[in-house]
């Protein structure tokens, strides 16, 4: 049963090794499913296939472990959704920005804990807002943010991360560019 790595545009998948096409869409597939208990090697393998597809055009990465019986039917039933999503992520990549992990209050009073929480929340906002401004879309969890950044804005984004790191004296971890894993849903 085919393992699906990503959905892309048919026009961008001409040179890809294993592809199922339906109208303007194409699924990048593998004949064998990847193991259901992923390790570092198998996760990076999935990522490498998606990144190769990303070099050729916009991609919607699948979650690891996606096996589809009827790939054509899969593309057909979700055609509208995938076409719109591909338009949203075209010419953009995902970048991850993380703040240092929040300290768990093991000592101190409840008030101290709440004050630490408030400080952490304020800091997160000071990092998130200026980066979201440079992005086409963004999502946030408490200490981890994802930004959909246009490829032409990448240099400016990295510069702003560096300046926030200096100005706020906070250890920001920025990784990417990633395929848009966090921006495939509308």
């Amino acid at each position: 049963m085919p393992y699906v790595y990503a959905v892309t545009e048919a026009a961008c998948a001409e040179t890809a090794p294993h592809v199922v096409r339906w109208c303007d869409l194409a699924a990048i597939i593998g004949a064998e499913p990847l193991p259901s208990d992923p390790d570092e090697r198998t996760l990076w393998h999935h990522e490498a296939v998606v990144e190769a597809a990303m070099k050729r055009g916009p991609v919607l990465p699948m979650r690891y472990g996606s096996v589809v019986d009827d790939v054509t039917g899969f593309l057909a039933t979700r055609q509208e959704e995938f076409t719109a999503a591909l338009r949203r992520v075209r010419d953009a990549v995902e970048l991850s920005v993380r703040l240092p992990r929040e300290e768990v209050a093991v000592a101190g009073t409840g008030t101290e804990y709440l004050m630490r929480r408030a400080t952490a929340t304020a800091l997160a906002e000071q990092v998130y807002a200026p980066l979201a401004e440079l992005s086409r879309a963004s999502t946030r969890r408490t200490q981890a943010f994802a930004f959909l950044v246009e490829t032409t804005a990448l240099a400016a984004f990295h510069e702003r991360v560096a300046s926030l790191r200096d100005r706020l004296d906070v250890e920001l971890t920025c990784t990417g560019p990633w395929p848009p894993y966090s921006f495939v849903e509308s």
């Binding site: 979650r63 690891y64 009827d70 899969f74 995938f82 240092p100 992990r101 800091l123 990784t175």
Partner: protein, 62 residues
Amino acid sequence: MNNDAALVDLIDRLLGGGVVIHGDLTLAVADIDLVYVGLRAVLASVETAERDLLGPCPTSTP
């Protein structure tokens, strides 16, 4: 790219993000949600252990 940071982000994306399949015509190979929760728990405990060795992080306390 820092390797540990990249691995955390890789796991968050491949197991917590991406297009999710649903419906009758598709089958997921495994309960990836459970794998994800398990891996995140391991990573969190590793990070906690490292932090305890290094002492509290000065940037996240007032």
